[in-house]
């Protein structure tokens, strides 16, 4: 039973991560390869609060505060990193965000106060289904509502045609940054939730590999679709578990399967399962 609850928690956390990355990569069309870095910042700052600073309040209040702290630090980092990086073009932006993601991880490795290379232990188990899925729901609602309004349309226009968008009075840099900051903020919340679920976090957990896995989730689901991000997260959280049932050896080849999946998707169905469409509601139709 515990196993299934834990799986569900991880699934919910990845839903938040994929929906938030989708805002940046899918809707704004800005290719970020450093999402795990913001996840890490949220996890470590949230955990640091719980372990070093938290007053003796009921668990769920501390968790909430921890999430707010994680989210805030992550979005501030998103602002600091986004301002220089979002001026860069497509593939250069990808590399720059990759670079920052790694820098964040490497700095954490060098921070002994949060465990450094040994990891951060003894984080209280505060996350539960209610709070993780509560935040997941909030993330989805926030992004969905944002995208249905004019600010969301402005964000999409960047992806569609940046020059045309600018000619219509849209400050594309501001909206790129907005998407980036919001996306990184929610990744930070996911980090805090993750820390209080696993109780032990290590820089390993937030490596470039994980940025790629989250990316795979949204590409599989459909870049530019919230439903796609959710479905992608669910599939790629459950898949390794299902593989494990097929035997230890198959499970070891999980990453090989993922990489082949990435290649095959790009060759055959780069738009993913949902493309730019959603499950619910009309696609912003008239």
């Amino acid at each position: 039973m515990d196993y299934f609850i834990h799986l569900a928690l991880i699934c919910g956390i990845f839903i938040i991560l994929s929906v938030s990355l989708n805002l940046i990569n899918g809707f704004a069309g800005q290719f970020s390869l450093g999402h795990a870095g913001f996840w890490a910042i949220g996890a470590y700052t949230g955990a640091a609060y719980s372990v070093f600073f938290a007053p003796p309040l009921p668990g769920f209040i501390n968790l909430f505060i921890s999430c707010l702290i994680g989210g805030t630090f992550a979005s501030l980092s998103g602002l600091i990193i986004g301002i220089p990086c979002l001026r860069l073009r497509g593939d250069y932006l990808a590399i720059a965000t990759l670079g920052f993601g790694e820098i964040i991880r490497l700095i954490i490795v060098n921070l002994d106060v949060v465990g450094g290379p040994r990891g951060f232990t003894n984080i209280p188990k505060l996350s539960n289904i209610f709070w993780v899925y509560g935040w997941a729901f909030l993330t989805i609602l926030f992004v969905a509502n944002l995208m249905r309004g004019s600010h969301g349309r402005a964000i999409i226009s960047i992806r569609e045609d940046e020059i045309a968008a600018e000619s219509l009075g849209i400050n594309t840099f501001k909206y790129k940054l907005l998407a980036f900051v919001i996306g990184s903020g929610f990744a930070g919340v996911a980090g805090a939730l993750f820390a209080h679920s696993e109780q032990f976090i290590h820089p390993h957990n937030f490596s470039f590999l994980w940025s790629v896995i989250i990316l795979l989730m949204i590409i599989l689901g459909g870049l530019g679709s919230i439903s796609g991000a959710v479905v992608g997260a669910i599939i790629l959280t459950l898949l390794p578990e299902m593989l494990r049932f097929m035997g230890e050896t198959v499970a070891q080849w999980r990453m090989v399967i993922y990489s082949l999946l990435l290649i095959v998707l790009m060759l055959i169905k780069p738009t993913g399962i949902f493309g730019k469409h959603e499950i619910f509601g009309r696609r912003k139709k008239a």
Partner: protein, 300 residues
């Protein structure tokens, strides 16, 4: 000069030599990145894996008794062929789709080789057989250079000049340069662009394979994930020098190698990788076309 300063200077020289040696490796790998980017505007993330494949090819061949002068060319040939196949199967079909899909595919290919390698060879590091004589040369008690280091630096310089000659004077080299200016124009001029692209992949991967064997010889150990970090570093080197520019790969590689070793020697060694990535960020922000790059304006 006091004795302390002298020793400090000797230390500096030593780290410099190590840096030149390490930098040569980066330069060799960076060449492949830069050549492919020059003609396809593709960041081939999987390039580090060609280096790894070359290293392992050398490992298996030398261990089975093959002498180095057979094993080394084969260790260059195999990754070259693998690269050609990868380009044909994974990159060519989506060439029209844009830079980001290509980047994603390259990520997929990279991880595929890393984890596939891990799956069949095992993740633990393997001891590399001794390839070069175990000699060390001492210069006035100040600096010591191993035979392997000398071979690495020497061969890098040689390969650099060879490549310069090749790109400047041979037909294929000229075709490569033409492609880097404009693929369409090259096609109109009757150049078989697909062949040239395949060849460029082959060439870049062979150089990486060569570097792989050198690294195995230098550090005496290899493992399937060994391509990831040097791959990223070589990419940083290529960007630093000017992506798409061959001398840039050389300059960037050497610079990065030297800076890294100076950080290890005179600052905090665990910051070595952070500094490398910081250099990447700085170059992208200040001069994204790299040290040797030119600024180009796009017409709308």
């Amino acid at each position: 000069m006091s004795e302390n300063t002298l020793f400090l200077f000797y230390d500096f020289l030593q780290y410099l030599v190590n840096g030149l040696s390490q930098g040569s490796i980066y330069a060799l790998i960076a060449l492949g990145y830069t050549m492919v980017y020059g003609i396809l505007k593709l960041i081939n993330f999987a390039h580090g894996e060609f280096y790894m494949i070359g290293s392992f090819t050398g490992y298996f061949l030398i261990r089975s008794g093959m002498p180095i002068y057979f094993a080394l060319p084969l260790a260059m040939l195999i990754p070259g062929l693998v690269a050609v196949v990868v380009e044909l199967v994974a990159y060519r079909p989506i060439r029209h789709a844009g830079k980001i899909p290509a980047l994603i595919t390259a990520l997929g290919v990279s991880f595929f080789f890393q984890f596939f390698g891990q799956g069949i060879i095992g993740a633990d590091p393997k001891p590399y057989p001794s390839v070069f004589p175990n000699k060390t040369f001492d210069f006035a008690g100040a600096v010591s250079v191993t035979a392997t280091q000398l071979i690495i630096m020497g061969s890098t310089i040689f390969l650099m000049f060879f490549l310069w000659w090749f790109v400047k004077f041979t037909k294929i080299g000229k075709a490569m340069r033409a492609l880097s200016y404009s693929r369409e124009a090259s096609e109109l001029m009757g150049i078989d662009t697909n062949k040239i692209i395949s060849f460029t992949f082959f060439l870049g991967a062979s150089l990486a394979g060569f570097a792989g064997v050198m690294v195995g010889a230098y550090y005496n150990s290899v493992e399937p994930m060994m391509g990831l970090i040097p791959g990223l570093k070589a990419f940083i080197a290529a960007v630093l020098g000017g992506i798409g520019i061959i001398p840039g790969a050389f300059l960037g590689g050497i610079l990065l190698g030297v800076i890294e070793n100076l950080v290890v020697g005179f600052w905090i060694s665990t910051y070595r990788d952070v500094v490398a990535f910081a250099i990447l960020i700085l170059i992208l922000l200040i001069k994204p076309t790299g040290l040797l790059g030119k600024k180009s304006k796009e017409k709308v």
